[in-house]
Symmetry: C2
Subunit: 236 residues, 2 copies
């Protein structure tokens, strides 16, 4: 059995990634889980393996997360966040207006490219070990090694460079969070969940903290984020 | 005479930087000029040389821009933008609420560090040539060469690396601007003026465009920004 159904029958179902050891480390999955909690929406969860493409065929593509809300099927975490606000405008908004959505959209691209690149590279070997079946791991290794021009083991040996790059790029976020508790101000909103989702990866994959002590405000904010929604972030 | 007064007597005076050739390239000065135009506020302008510290002593520090509004003296472009919204809330807002101010604050830090660092480094020699008196240039060279561990001439010879870094870091902004005309959405606001102010530097200092063709959306946006307020950006 490749997918496990949790929870009772609900209108909303979230299809999220799980690895063979039961870990849920998808940054995009975490963004949606936090977004659902922000809006106070319950969802049944279907956990899918990395290669579980058939399970998602109903969505017309093969990547998690996918949200099914009665007849509505939405894939891609960004589109899911926009859908949740559009479909449930009376519940707390993830992005309350055009400027707020612009902010989130910028943070989304910045997190995926600038922040995510060095972080994910530092985690390649851990992701590799999490994959199943073995054919997935072979393909994963091949593509990453071609893209980076080095073996995953060499990249792993050089991961302090990835950590340095990550911490350098996080500087503007740390600067912002020295002045206010959350990315969006006094309370969290979707930009917070975006960055936090990506920073959940090492926590669930290898427990190595890539943040330098200089990221004092990001570290403090991350703790606050972990405490939201009754500690949702620590329930994997 | 080290400062030149423009315009008629007005309640607001902006102290901005000018070099010995009459060029106004301060990114922070441009942010404030665009911000004043956004709010529809006229201001007299006092242009100051780089070393014209005495002229600014009334502000308790020696850096431009400084805004004097009757009895109020505000230095630092960020504080000036906040002041303008707080003092003139009935005019178009630069940052209309807390989330909008968070967005601008993040963009401010990101632009100054991540975007500004490679861009300004690529312009060191041009800035050096613009300085007056010579003592300023000596001090400028000394400090930048110590910080970078290389002569300004070596840094200049390697400036394609700075351009590469700049274009890599601009990727999330380009991604955002492919979907919407301005950083903040359908119309510009302070985040637009922040980034634009910094991108004004090469335009006024050396006319070398550091943007790669891949920055298609940033380039298109920059053109639109130049057209705002009757082409204010081209009136230096």
């Amino acid at each position: 059995m490749s997918c496990i159904t949790h929870g009772v029958l609900l209108a909303i179902t979230l299809y999220d990634l799980v690895d063979k050891d039961g870990r849920r480390y998808s940054p995009y999955g975490w963004r949606v889980r936090m977004a659902l909690a922000h809006k106070g929406l319950d969802a049944a969860v279907e956990l899918c393996w990395h290669s579980d493409k058939e399970k998602l065929s109903f969505s017309g593509q093969h990547l998690v997360p996918v949200l099914r809300d009665d007849d509505h099927v939405v894939s891609d975490s960004w589109k899911i966040a926009c859908y949740l606000d559009d479909a449930y405008p009376d519940r707390p908004l993830l992005m309350k207006d055009e400027q707020s959505r612009s902010f989130a959209k910028f943070i989304n691209g910045w997190t995926d490219t600038i922040i995510g690149r060095p972080l994910v590279r530092s985690l390649y070997l851990d992701i590799l070990r999490s994959l199943h079946p073995d054919a997935d791991a072979v393909e994963f290794r091949k593509r990453r090694e071609e893209r980076n021009g080095a073996t995953l083991e060499t990249l792993f040996a050089n991961r302090t460079k990835d950590f340095e790059e990550l911490n350098r790029e996080l500087a503007p976020l740390n600067q912002l969070l020295r002045d206010q508790p959350f990315v969006t101000g006094a309370t969290p909103a979707y930009p917070d969940y975006i960055v936090f989702g990506t920073l959940q990866m090492p926590r669930h994959l290898n427990r190595v903290d890539p943040l330098a002590a200089s990221q004092d405000a990001v570290i403090r904010w991350r703790e606050a984020m972990r405490g939201l929604f009754d500690g949702l972030a620590d329930r994997a």
